[in-house]
């Protein structure tokens, strides 16, 4: 018998209706579309799998677990947050992770979640910022979510926001979007059942995307923040 209460909590956090700010980020997709590198469902699926398997699965998932285990230790959270910063993703991707981390904290503060108030207070005192995966691993347990639920919801929000961006950029239609989501669900099931990578094994490298986001905005106006 599944834990219905937890299932409902997960669905609420994973819903694109949850106000996370994610709709403003394409994670490099917009640049690759303008470059005519991502042009159809096949090239988009490659992009999506690279982002989820070689960034989220190999990096964010491990960060979530470390933050999850840190409990209420602000010291440990600061340490893992510094690690994320030191991994030196391209600035636009780092900035996106920081902005969405802050957004998630602020939304939960406004919703009255005590753990969010604590981290906001800590951030204000230390004049620092926090990355999205760290916030997810720290805050979601206070809603009652277990570690694997945190992983599943984080992965779901990551790939649905990218697929949604692809629809808005006209790369795929609404049915192909669902086909992409189904395939990602199939691939992620295997990932989520495998051991979580250790800190020393974490990596995030999607070179084509990284380079695309490093280029100046010579391509003119943009819809997305990255």
């Amino acid at each position: 018998m599944p834990n219905i209460a937890n299932l409902l909590i997960c669905l609420q956090q994973a819903d694109s209706f949850f106000p996370s700010g994610a709709m403003a980020f394409s994670w490099g997709l917009e640049s690759l579309v303008k470059d005519n590198i991502v042009t159809d469902i096949d090239s988009f699926q490659d992009f999506l799998e690279a982002q989820i398997l070689y960034r989220w699965s190999s990096f964010d998932r491990g960060i979530i677990s470390i933050a999850f285990k840190a409990g209420n230790s602000m010291e440990q959270l600061a340490s893992i947050n510094s690690f994320v910063e030191a991994m030196a993703s391209p600035p636009l991707l780092q900035e996106g992770s920081r902005r969405l981390g802050r957004a998630l904290v602020e939304v939960y503060v406004k919703l009255g979640l005590e753990a969010a108030k604590q981290i906001q207070l800590h951030l204000a005192r230390s004049s620092s910022f926090i990355h999205l995966a760290v916030v997810q691993g720290y805050l979601w347990p206070s809603l009652g979510m277990d570690e694997s639920e945190c992983h599943a919801v984080s992965a779901h929000t990551a790939y649905t926001s990218i697929v949604s961006a692809a629809v808005r950029l006209g790369v795929i239609g609404h049915l192909d979007a669902q086909r992409c989501l189904s395939r990602m669900r199939y691939l992620l099931e295997k990932v989520l059942l495998s051991p979580v990578p250790n800190l020393n094994d974490l990596s995030c490298s999607t070179l084509m995307v990284d380079i695309a986001t490093l280029r100046p905005y010579e391509q003119g106006s943009r819809f997305f923040a990255n």
Binding site: A24, A115, R168
Partner: protein, 220 residues
């Protein structure tokens, strides 16, 4: 499972002043939202209002760049928000980044009294989240047709102030302004409807008075 009882309570603390008052300006593409903004800024400065601007254009920075270039306001007081091609979502279902920007402006400019938040051009169904703004203005224009109020779009019906802009174009676009105003008043149940020509500033002084009144009201 541990539950956070405080989290489960209904939290209504969305207007924890002191913070700046936030007024939204929405409306269809090309109705004159940015032009209204450009007319409001100098008049509000003349009245001593400490203000800043957030724009939500379809593309990242078009309207923000226009307002900055205008020289009407310190460029650092103008923030352009990315909407991911979803201008309506950015002001209603997920105004997170707009709220961040407004809070950043409050921190950057102590004593900030007013933030004007211009939405991206959208359709008649667009409206602002009441957790984002304290008051919102919806701008339509006569060139859109005199049947616009009759269509009862949520923007026309729900806004605090409806502005019918470009009244100078009435002779050229085959519309009946009287019908437009009458029907706007009818669908809005008597809530305010104002007329303007934001190209010249005609009618804007009255809108400024409304904004000032709103500032005083929210500050009480």
């Amino acid at each position: 499972m541990e539950t956070n009882e405080e989290y489960l309570s209904i939290n209504t603390d969305n207007k924890s002043f002191p913070r700046s008052v936030r007024i939204g300006i929405g409306g269809p593409v090309g109705s004159g939202k940015t032009r209204l903004l450009e007319q409001l800024i100098p008049r509000l400065f003349d009245k001593g209002v400490n203000l800043a601007i957030i724009t939500n254009d379809l593309v990242t920075s078009e309207d923000a760049a226009r307002v900055r270039r205008s020289g009407l306001i310190d460029a650092s007081r103008v923030i352009g928000i990315e909407t991911g091609a979803c201008p309506h979502t950015a002001i209603r279902e997920d105004p997170t980044l707009n709220l961040q920007a407004a809070e950043d402006l409050d921190q950057l400019y102590p004593g900030l009294e007013l933030v004007l938040i211009e939405s991206g051009g959208d359709n008649l169904a667009s409206s602002f989240s009441l957790d984002l703004v304290d008051y919102w203005i919806f701008v339509i224009d006569v060139a859109g047709g005199d049947d616009i109020p009759r269509k009862r779009g949520p923007g026309v019906i729900l806004c605090d102030l409806l502005v019918i802009n470009k009244i100078d174009l009435v002779p050229y676009v085959d519309v009946d302004l009287n019908i437009m105003v009458t029907e706007a008043n009818k669908v809005r149940n008597g809530r305010p409807v104002m007329l303007s020509n934001c190209a010249t500033g005609e009618g804007v002084d009255v809108i400024v008075d409304v904004v000032i009144d709103q500032l005083s009201f929210e500050r009480k």
